[in-house]
Symmetry: C2
Subunit: 336 residues, 2 copies
Amino acid sequence: MAAANVKDVAALARVSIGTVSNVLNRPEIVAPGTADRVMQAIEKLGFVRNDAARQLKAGRSNTIGLVVLDVRNPFFTDLARGAEDAASDAGLSILLGDSGRSQKREAAYLDLFEEQRVHGVLVSPLSDVARRLEGLRRRGIPAVLVDRSATGSGFSSVSVDDVAGGRLAVEHLISIGRRRIAYLAGSFDFPQVTDRLRGAQEAVAAHPGTSLEVIDIDGLTVLAGHAAGERIVARSAADRPDGVFTANDLIAVGLLQALVMQSDIRVPGDIALVGYDDIDFAETAVVPLSSVRQPSALLGRTAVELLLEEARNPGLAPRQVVFQPELVIRRSTSSG
Amino acid sequence: MAAANVKDVAALARVSIGTVSNVLNRPEIVAPGTADRVMQAIEKLGFVRNDAARQLKAGRSNTIGLVVLDVRNPFFTDLARGAEDAASDAGLSILLGDSGRSQKREAAYLDLFEEQRVHGVLVSPLSDVARRLEGLRRRGIPAVLVDRSATGSGFSSVSVDDVAGGRLAVEHLISIGRRRIAYLAGSFDFPQVTDRLRGAQEAVAAHPGTSLEVIDIDGLTVLAGHAAGERIVARSAADRPDGVFTANDLIAVGLLQALVMQSDIRVPGDIALVGYDDIDFAETAVVPLSSVRQPSALLGRTAVELLLEEARNPGLAPRQVVFQPELVIRRSTSSG
DNA sequence: GGTGTGGATTGAAACGCTTCAGAATGAATC
DNA sequence: GATTCATTCTGAAGCGTTTCAATCCACACC
């Protein structure tokens, strides 16, 4: 009762193993009658192709490795979904690894992918993975950086223009009449956080009479947002910002709670609020939250496409694809 | 410049390929000097073992397949993390598949895992996968059902006692003096939803003078909870429940918003509230939410352990492990 | 009847690893 | 010196697939 293999199928269908393989891989070149017989034998024996053998012969697996920083972040799961769709179109599947912001895990996944001779690697890098990716490339495994523009690194990348995102958010606040803008963020070592700040600064610089205050908080969480909110509430009304842009939606949600629950400050009346990421909770927050949305699924899809292109013709010059974020306007910035 | 293989390493280290393999797999049986030479050759050539060949020889991969219903649900990512830790302890890795509640994807992943000859399969089943798992088992691939007790199915399972969870929640509401309890839920075709209901019913039955109203809503989302909240607000005060148990935290958050924002109903003063799942947002909600927490990571870890046991001695009688949920008490049920 | 022709099928080689029976070596024992 | 024994190393076999040159066959054409 051992698992059936091609040889068993061939014997039962009274053909050679080559023909069985052809039925599986190029059915158009085998005579319909023969193909039928083979299919029946496959059915009868419950034959399932052994992928390891196939891969060994092929020299590479039909899998794409994807390492994300944090699967709990919807941005990355949406991205993974997009990547999966694109991969599936090409007959490949995605191996999803969660580095959980640990360098060790990140490295372990890249090693695993190399042993598996994956078709290619997508990585939202935590540490400096260039050297390791270089090694993969030498083995013929292309890599694409995700969520990080990588000009000059020698690798292709897909990312979102965070500077534009910051500009978009603050331009919007200004366009609805706000003048004293605040940027609420922590973890300034993430390039995303500083890029969004830069965009905010550009927007303010372009509009005389507006100002930007940077409020540094402890992390990118609801709690940090809440705490900052309490500090803002404690200020005199004249001293408060009238428009706040937060580095992500979690902060915005926390801030919102502090403003709405613990004071009579109105959102958007007194303070208009724009978040970032457009997580599910943005739409269903106490006051539905305006937010900057990133085309995450598209990012994943594009990353796979770049990867496949590079796999098809190695030595292709690396390409940096930068997507533009989109502003989703909800009640927190519109009196509607 | 082709990728180096064991043969190349053997040649450079002036040993046989068998010795190279031994250095890799049973270093204790090779003389230290020889091992050193081999390691240096490996280093020099950048040799990375080809996993496909290894698997082909071994007959199975050192990977465990995990299919979850929804990676965006923190319950499943925590579970996956637990499974990954346990797998990693055993030198295995996890292949994570997200069925996204689609039968087609679920089936596709199981097929993929079968082709890959994975070490075992963990699945939080959407449809009736028994037949397919039976096929895997015949091939020597054990399977463990996750988040579903499976008595009589012939498979091992790990799950959380949802009846106990429901009982816990409602017992708690009763213990703080609530009498008119409501259970707010949708999607009654999920066994989890009905099990929690059953627990709630048991608790009410055990306490004379208490009553349970079941409010059927449209799905398990924040929006559905919010809508239901508006209906509750519209009732006369005497007609409202004084304790509400929701099938998950999302519903509770929506409900909470409706109660707090659109009325002067106090939480927990007028209505005490218990959710389920203890998602991150429960702690940081407008009113921090009491919730029933499931030991998700432990579930994952245990599932892997069951799987490995079964892989080691096939034919072992299936075991059903049921974990008890835990009540986390926060402001929504305590005046503190 | 001989000769092409093209489609269908065959079967051996190769992919890179692990395993295992046996060879080689050297030390210990009689 | 012969024998035993443990240690280390060797090299061929085999895992299940794909591929490809070679073969086979039926048929059409001269």
